[in-house]
Amino acid sequence: MSNNEIADKVKKIVVEHLGVEESKVTPNASFIDDLGADSLDTVELVMAFEEAFSVEIPEDTAEKIATVSDAIDYISKQKAS
């Protein structure tokens, strides 16, 4: 899976879970500040990423995934290794 594919899939998951316009899901968009997520949403997002990409995101890492690009970067790194 290329990094572009990962980015597209992450964006799709964010759009689906948070019910936001695709245009708002920019790399620097913060889930909580820009996309209206609450703490439960972020947990649900992390779980959705884990399922979609078959990766495990440990709790202390999950806390640091605040923006769309945080998620894309972490998943890309996991997939590359």
Binding site: D38, L40, E44, M47
Partner: protein, 247 residues
């Protein structure tokens, strides 16, 4: 009032006195009910009494973590719809004074009475939070509040359900999911039938309403908390004990 038409409910320990009464009440109000327990024959007999519609049986041994984790999904598969109401009713006792209590007595009770409700709630919440609705009701006991000699393990597990439910209620409130507890006092079951007459008399003396509870008394409290009418009630413990302990 209290219609559960179209809803799916999973009741663990459904072949026992209280579990069966809960299943009956929820079914009567229109819910589709999945009966779970370890004894398939006993569950089938409860299912037969409920009739041929809106009832399913799924056996599971809740002392096995994997089986507990899988039960919600199995219930949804057999019923062909998603779970709306989880009733954590299954429980067992291993009574003995603490000095004589074996590790296995403690562990068994914790596993079935506290850990499996958590596993079931965790599995159920995933879908409920997404769907923005759901009811989780755990059957505790008055001894979780008062304590009882010979039941350090059971009382600890039953008190544990209260703390767990309050935490889950706070986690899931923003999604319209409610999490509550029903804490029965002494209810007429095969277990309390075995009490000697003198002990029974003494027990009744401490109950202002002057009788033992019936399984239906507990089931009615569960029905209320499971209903849409209880939408603004969460994290609470409803004591159903004839006034024996006013807490």
């Amino acid at each position: 009032m209290f219609s559960l038409s179209g809803k799916l409910a999973l009741v663990t320990g459904a072949s026992g006195g209280i579990g069966k009464a809960i299943a009956e009440q929820l079914h009567r109000q229109g819910a589709c009910v999945v009966l779970s327990g370890t004894r398939e024959e006993a569950l089938k007999s409860v299912a037969e009494q409920l009739g041929s519609e809106r009832v399913h049986v799924v056996t599971a041994n809740l002392s096995d973590g994997e089986q507990a984790d899988a039960l919600v999904k199995r219930a949804e598969e057999v019923a062909g719809q998603t779970l709306d109401i989880l009733i954590n009713n299954a429980g067992l006792t291993r009574d003995t004074l603490a000095m004589r209590m074996k590790d296995s007595d403690w562990e068994q009770v914790m596993k079935v009475d506290l850990e499996s409700p958590f596993r079931l709630a965790r599995a159920a919440l995933k879908g409920m939070l997404r769907r923005r609705s759901g009811r989780i009701i755990s059957i505790s006991s008055i001894v979780g509040t008062t304590g009882n000699p010979g039941q350090a393990n059971y009382a600890a597990a039953k008190a544990g359900l209260v703390g767990m439910s309050k935490s889950l209620a706070q986690e899931s409130g923003s999604r319209g999911v409610t999490v509550n507890v029903v804490a029965p006092g002494f209810v007429e079951t095969p277990m309390t039938d075995a009490l000697p007459e003198a002990a029974r008399e003494r027990l009744l003396g401490g109950i202002p309403l002057g009788r033992m509870g019936r399984p239906e008394d507990v089931a009615s409290a569960v029905l209320y908390l499971a209903s849409d009418e209880a939408a603004w009630v969460t994290g609470t413990t409803l004591h159903v004990n004839g006034g024996m302990a006013m807490v």
